[in-house]
């Protein structure tokens, strides 16, 4: 299991200079909000209040938050089936997300998309996608568009390491490299494609995949939000300078099952492995430790942040539960614009 990022402390320290305490606290708040959000999703599922399934982002919070914090509000992202964290980190509202998860008309997609299709153009979110690798074309196209329009925007394509199996990813990386498009391919390697360890289905070295197209690759400890943030900032700078695409491997772990119903996991991974990640590599603990260690926050501050985040999440659930379903007449609206 690879847990350290191949960056130097100096580089990171440089990049992090000038990052205010407030921003670290904001990241902490986002991360804890995502965690609380997913807890509630699980509850809603177990209480049979949520239709269908959901794929929890719990454990991976530092990845989405560290990356999105390094972006402008108008930068683009595409997300995945495991997308709640990406959407929230990019600026989605908790209440409208819950409403979507429950199929309510007040949700981001009027209840038509659900957990795997949250889209919010206002926050630059071009949509979660239930096709593995489905965002690759879209994110690359958004980068092309940004470049042609000269908007200075960058585009971030989130995917799990399972998407490395999809040929279209290589097709678009080739074009992104040829045309120097401002897109970051973010491979969140949480070690599993559903119920299969990635090493069983992934030949060679991950880093060699982008290298095949001359795309620069950086690898980062996805459990350490400071590392993720610092690395992404550097990468984004290079993109905005027109240096072409980048590939970011964010090494991380999902705490729960592939989806909410995936409870018996012993056949594909051990309880020990899960406990070890939670105990030693928890992104919230890592940031909290650093904040308190540096004297940037005390336990009280962090508790206060957590309380606030949990309150927001609770209110969001309330809102969503009370929200109305779409009118039957909605069913054939929005097929065509």
């Amino acid at each position: 299991m690879r847990r350290t990022a191949p960056r130097t402390e100096t580089q990171q320290a440089d990049a992090l200079q000038g990052v205010a305490r407030e921003q670290w606290l904001a990241m902490y708040e986002q991360m804890i909000k995502i965690r609380a959000f997913e807890e509630q999703v699980n509850e809603l599922y177990r209480g049979a209040k949520m239709p269908g399934l959901a794929h929890l982002y719990t454990g991976q919070e530092a990845s989405a938050v560290g990356i999105c914090q390094a972006l402008r509000p108008d930068d683009y992202i595409t997300s995945t089936h495991r997308g709640h964290g990406h959407c929230l980190a990019k600026g989605a509202r908790v209440d409208l997300m819950f409403a979507e998860l429950l199929g309510k008309v007040s949700g981001y997609c009027r209840g038509k998309g659900g957990s795997m299709h949250i889209a919010d153009p206002q926050s630059g979110n071009l949509g979660a996608n239930a096709i593995v690798g489905g965002g690759a074309g879209i994110a690359t196209g958004a980068a092309l568009s940004a470049k042609r329009r000269g908007s200075g925007q960058v585009s971030v394509c989130f995917f799990g390491e399972g998407a490395l199996g999809q040929g279209v990813l290589y097709e678009v990386m080739n074009m992104a490299a040829l045309w120097k498009l401002p897109v970051i391919y973010v491979c969140e390697n949480n070690l599993y494609n559903e119920y299969t360890h990635y090493s069983e289905v992934t030949a060679g070295e991950l880093r060699a995949r982008p290298a095949a197209f001359g795309i620069q690759c950086v690898e980062v400890d996805g459990q350490d939000v400071r590392a993720v943030y610092a690395t992404t900032r550097r990468v984004v700078e290079r993109l905005r300078a027109g240096e072409g695409p980048a590939f970011l491997i964010s090494n991380t772990y999902r705490y729960f099952g592939h989806h909410v119903g995936d409870v018996n996991r012993a056949y594909y991974r051990s309880k020990e492995e899960e406990l070890d990640w939670k105990a030693r590599r928890d992104p919230l603990a890592i940031l909290a430790d650093w904040l308190t260690g540096e004297g940037l926050a005390d336990a009280g501050t962090l508790e206060e942040i957590e309380r606030r985040a949990r309150a927001e999440v609770a209110a969001g659930v309330e809102f969503a539960l009370a929200a109305p379903y779409p009118d039957p007449g909605e069913v054939d609206q929005h097929v065509y614009a």
Binding site: L53, K104, G111, I131, G162, Y325, P326, V331
Partner: protein
């Protein structure tokens, strides 16, 4: 050969029937093997394949990367050279990813080679909405495959049919696309212990009737049967016909029934427009032209991407009530 589907001492689920068919064929013929995502230890997310890897090993029940085009293409090549792959496409919605391999390679190799090469492979996949899985995990895309010459397309609607048809599919010398209804995996039905296969192109009359013909496929067969029960109370006798394979299509049985009843509804879970209902309806309209008392009615899924919200999703698919209502209207009983 075909057997009456109701006669059997035991009941098993649709998923078990599929698994039995695979296991029996794999025991019979060492060339048969399974390729797909999470098919081995996980036995797929639907657990349909549970236990097979334990019996046959990972050489014959092989997990692939998430590469639908790639492993389907590999299956084509393996089929051309002596093996009989059964490819697992986890959701029917992912067929478009493998479309070139299926449409341009598998379907055409035999013809393009003037009959020299063969592609005896099965693509097992599924269809069906109302699972709250939204637009990319709920499609019923069997019409797309049915349009392509060189493919056979199978749509079992009972555990009995699933087992018999899958065994036939595996023994067929051509590429066969086999669609299972996701909501049916836990449905139980009679399946005899002994060996049997069901020929392609033979429709099954799931229920006899005299006033109206309901032609229904896959998931919609149960809907049509339920509609027939409702109609019985109204004094309307509905015949329910399940073509079981859209290619080859047993036009004769369907047309004969429509000639007898003079009225027909075609019910299918694919989108209505340019879908399976169009083909079957026009086969009936042409074949039974001089016997029809009313236009053939088509009931497919709505022509909208499948919405996530339960409040909307349930509206998109034909239900027993709506089929019965349409039947009453057709019979002039409204």
């Amino acid at each position: 050969m075909s057997m009456p589907s109701a006669v059997a001492d035991r009941e098993i689920t649709f998923a078990q029937a599929v698994r039995e068919a695979l296991a029996e064929e794999m025991r019979r013929d060492p060339a048969v093997f399974i390729l797909g995502e999470d098919v081995a230890e996980a036995g797929t997310p639907f657990k349909v394949l549970s236990g097979l890897v334990e019996e046959f090993g990972t050489e014959r029940v092989t997990d692939t990367p998430i590469s639908e085009a790639g492993f389907t293409g590999i299956a084509v090549g393996a089929a051309m050279t002596g093996l009989r792959p059964v490819v697992d496409i986890m959701f029917g919605d992912f067929l478009p990813l493998a479309m070139d391999q299926i449409v341009n390679q598998a379907a055409k190799v035999h013809y393009m080679s003037g009959g020299k090469l063969r592609v005896p492979m099965v693509v097992r996949t599924n269809l069906g909405a109302t699972r709250r899985s939204a637009a990319q995990h709920s499609q019923s895309l069997h019409a797309l495959l049915s349009h392509i010459p060189g493919l056979k397309v199978v749509l079992p609607s009972t555990p009995y049919d699933a087992k018999g048809l899958l065994k036939t599919a595996i023994r067929d010398e051509n590429p066969v696309v086999f669609f299972e209804d996701k909501l049916m995996f836990h449905l139980k039905g009679p399946v005899p212990e002994g060996e049997y296969t069901i020929p392609f192109g033979v429709a099954d009359v799931k229920r006899q009737g005299t006033d109206i013909t309901l032609v229904a496929t896959s998931s919609m067969v149960q809907v049509a049967l339920a509609a027939a029960q409702i109609l019985e109370k109204d004094g309307i006798s509905a015949e329910v016909i399940d073509p079981r394979t859209t290619v080859p299509l047993d036009a004769r049985t369907i047309v004969e029934s429509a000639k007898k009843t003079g009225r027909a509804i075609v019910v299918d879970e694919g989108h209505e427009r340019y879908g399976v209902t169009a083909e079957i309806a026009s086969v009936i309209a042409e074949g039974a032209f001089y016997h029809l008392d009313a236009p053939v009615k088509r009931m497919g899924a709505m022509d909208v991407p499948v919405p996530f919200s339960p409040a909307l999703e349930d509206l998109t698919v034909p239900t027993a009530e709506r089929v019965a209502e349409a039947a009453r209207a057709l019979c002039g009983r409204t």
